[in-house]
Amino acid sequence: MFGNLTLDAFKHDPIEAAAGYSIFLSMILAVALITYFKRWTWLWKEWLTSLDPKRIGVMYIVVALIMLFKGLSDALMIRAQQAFSVGDAWGYLSASHFQQVFTAHGTTMIFFVGMGIVFGMMNLILPLQIGARDVAYPFLNSIGFWLFASGSAYIIISLIVGKFSATGWVAYPPLSGLRYSPNEGVDYWIWSVQIAGIGSLLSGINFLVTIFKMRCPGMTLMKMPVFAWSALGTLALIIFAFPILTATLGMLSLDRLLGMHFFTPDFGGNQMMYVNLIWAWGHPEVYILILPAFGIYSQVVSTFSQKRLFSYESMVWAIIGITFLSFIVWLHHFFTMGAGANVNAFFGIMTMLIAVPTGVKIFNWLFTMVRGRVHFTTPMLWFLGFVVIFSVGGMAGVLMSIAPVDFQVHNSLFLIAHFHSMIIGGVVFGFFAGFTYWFPKIMGFKLNERLGRYAFWCWLIGFLAAFLPLYILGFMGATRRLDHYEAATGWQPLFLVAAVGVGIISLGLGLQILQLIVSIKERKKNTDTTGDPWNGRTLEWSTTSPPPVYNFAVIPTVQTRDPFWEMKQTGASPQQKPKYQDIIMPKNSPLGVLIGGFSFILGFALVWHILWLGVIGLLGILTCFIVRLSEEETEYCIPASAVAKIEAKASKRKK
C-alpha cells in the first residue's frame, strides 16, 4: 500500500528528531496564526494564486530566506561538529547524520537560496527595468515558482519522513547508486533537484522571451540596464545548462528505479560520464548565480556614485564573454580524473581566461566610483565587501586552475574557502545589496540603515573569520566533509576560529531579521512617497513605490541608457495629462499551486515507490494542463478611467 514507506521512516535519533519536530511545530504554528487572523482567503487570493511577477518575486525571496535560515543552521551544525570532534571526542553528530547535514547544506544553498534569489530578483525588477507591464508568460511564471517551492519542500519533509541524501550536493556515483545508497535519501535529493530544476528551466524560457520581446519602445539591446544584460546571460546559461541536469538526473534515477547501468561500476556503466555531465551543468550554474549579482552591483554602484556606469560596452561584452567561456571550463572541477595533460591544460587555460572579463568588470565598477559623488549607503558597503572577498577568492580560483596545484588542493578546505568566497562574497552580498536597494521600490518604505550597517560588518568579519582559516587548513591537508580528525593534525584551533566566524555570520542574519522588524514598525517614518528614494537612473524608479499592478500607466519610450536620469536632468516631466488606455492583465490562477502540489505528490511517490500515489500525481498534473488549455477568459481589463483614478491618487501622495 505505501511502498517502501513504513513506520520506521519516522524514527530518528534525538538530534534529527529535534530538528524535524521543531519544523513541524513551526508549521503548525504558522497555520494556526493564519487561521486565527483569518488570513487564508487573503493569502490565497492575493499571493498563492497571483500571476503578478512582483508578488511571485516576493514569494521567491520568502522561500529563499527560509531556506537560507535552514542552510545556515546546517552550516552551524557542521562547524560545531568539526570544532569539537577531535581525537577521543567524537562530536555530537553521528557520521551518517553529519553526511546528511553537509549534503542538505549544499543542496539548500545552491538550489533553493541561490536560484531563489536569482529568480526572485528577476521577477521583481526585470519587467520594471525594461518598461514592461508583465512577463511574457505569466502563468508559466507561476508554475516555475511552484515547482521551485515544491522542490524545496522535500528538503524539509526529509527531516520528518525518512532520511536525506548523504552523498554530497552533486551525488557522485557509484556512491549515489542503488548498491551503496539503497535507501530513500538519494531519491529525495534527485526529485528535489529535478522538480526545482524543471521549474528553473521554464522560468528561464519565460524571462528570455520577456527580455527579447517585451522591452519598451526605444530600448535596444545596447540600451538595456546592465542588470537586464546580466539576467540575459544567466537565462542563456539556464537554457543551455539545465536540460543537461534534467537528463543526468533522469539517468541516475533510471539506474536507481529500473536497474539501468548508466553509472554503475559493473555492466558497462561509466561513473566519469556522470561527473562530466553534472559539471557540464554545474559550472554554468555557478555563473547563473553570480551574473545577476554582477548586474545588481552595476546598478548600485552607478546609482550611489551619481554617475553613469564606466564603460557600458565592455561590461556587456564581459557578460557575453563569461556566458560563453563558462561552458568550456567544467573539467577544472576534476582535473584529478586523469584526462591527460593536454585536456587539463586546455581547461586550465580557459579557466584563467574567464578571470579576464571578470577582472574587467571589477575595474569598471571601481572606475565608476572615481570622481563620482559616492554615498556610502548599505548597498555600497555590500559592494565594497564583495570587491575584497571576491577578488581574493577569485585569485585563489585562478591558482587552482593550474592543474598541478589543483592536484594538491583538490577536495581540500582550500577549495571550500574559494567557492564560499565566490558565493557568499559574490552572490549573497550582491543579493543583500539588491535587497536593500530595491526594497523601497517593492514595499514602499526604506530599510533601517543603521541596523543594515551593523549586519554588514557582522557578515564581513564573520566571513573572514570563518573562511580565512579554511584556506590555511586546506594547505595543511584538511579535506572537506570530515566528521572527525586526529588531534596531532593541529587543525583544531583554526576550526574553532571558523566556528566563531559562522557564529558572527549568524549574528548578522539575526540583525537583518531585526532590521526587517524595526523597519516595518517604523514604516511611516521611512515611507518612500517619491518612487525614487536614491536618485535612481533606470526606469523602475520612474513609477510609484510600490508600483501599481500594471507597473506603468503609460508605457515609457526611451532614448538613452539611463532614461530616468536623463528625464530628470532635462526636466522633461511625464505628460501633465497623459491619455490613459485600457490595460489588459492576466487573471489569477490556482492551477500553478495545484501543479506544484501534484508534482510534489508525484516526486514523493517516486521516492517511496508508491504506485497509486504516483498515478494520482501524474493525472493531477495532466488535468491541470488540460483545464488551463480549455480556459477561455484568462485576462481581465482595467478600464482607462480606473487607471486614471489610481494615477491621480498616486500623484496626490507624491505632493
Binding site: 555492466f267 556503466g269 561509466n270
Partner: protein, 196 residues
C-alpha cells in the same frame, strides 16, 4: 494573411508564443543531446551482451522512419487546411497524422517487447540502458504529441478554429517536426551506424 505587424495584440502574443516555443524546443534538443552523448559513450559497453549489430534490424527501423516522415508530411497538410480555415481538411489530415504516429509508437513498443522477451532488457548492459533511454525518451515525446493532438483537436472539432487554437496547433506542428528531426539522428546514429 498575417502581415500586420504588432498592431493587433493577438498577433503580438502569437509571435511571442512561437518564439518561446522555439526556445523550449532548443532546450529539448539539448536534453536529447545529453542522451545522445550518453549513448555515444556507452554504445560499446555491452558487458559481454549483444551489440547493436546483433540486435537491430535495418528494414524495420527504416519502416518506422518512413511512417514518421509521412506523419510529418500529413501534419503539414493539416496545417495548410488550418490556414485556409478548412476545418474538414484540418481534422482529416490530423487524423491521418495521429494514426501514423500511433502506428510508429506501436512498432517501437513491439521492438522493445521483443528485446525484453529475448532477455536483452535495459538491465542487461550500459549499452542497452542508453539505447532504451534514448529511443524511449523519443517515444515518450511522441506519446505526449499524440495526447496533445487529442486535447487540441476535440475543441476544434466541436467549436471550430479560433486564433488561440491556431496558435497552439502551430506549436504542436513545430513539436511534431522537431521529433522527426530527432528521429533522423536516432536512425542514423543508433540503427545505421550500429548495424554496419
Amino acid at each position: 494573411m498575417m502581415t500586420q505587424p504588432l498592431a493587433n495584440p493577438h498577433q503580438e502574443v502569437h509571435a511571442r508564443t512561437l518564439f518561446g516555443f522555439w526556445v523550449y524546443l532548443m532546450t529539448d534538443c539539448i536534453l536529447f543531446g545529453s542522451l545522445f552523448a550518453a549513448y555515444a559513450v556507452l554504445h560499446n559497453s555491452t558487458y559481454g551482451g549483444p551489440s547493436a549489430h546483433d540486435l537491430f534490424s535495418l528494414p524495420y527501423a527504416l519502416a518506422e522512419t518512413m511512417i514518421l516522415l509521412a506523419s510529418s508530411f500529413t501534419c503539414g497538410l493539416a496545417m495548410l487546411g488550418a490556414h485556409l480555415n478548412d476545418r474538414r481538411k484540418l481534422l482529416l489530415w490530423f487524423g491521418v497524422t495521429f494514426l501514423l504516429g500511433a502506428s510508429f509508437l506501436a512498432m517501437e513498443i513491439s521492438e522493445f517487447t521483443k528485446l525484453v522477451q529475448a532477455g536483452n532488457s535495459w538491465q542487461r548492459s550500459g549499452f542497452l540502458s542508453a539505447f532504451f533511454t534514448l529511443v524511449g525518451t523519443h517515444g515518450l515525446h511522441i506519446t505526449t504529441g499524440l495526447l496533445w493532438m487529442i486535447v487540441l483537436l476535440v475543441p476544434v472539432a466541436r467549436h471550430g478554429l479560433t486564433p488561440t487554437s491556431l496558435k497552439r496547433l502551430t506549436c504542436l506542428r513545430l513539436f511534431w517536426h522537431f521529433l522527426d528531426v530527432v528521429w533522423i539522428f536516432i536512425f542514423t546514429l543508433v540503427y545505421l551506424m550500429g548495424v554496419k
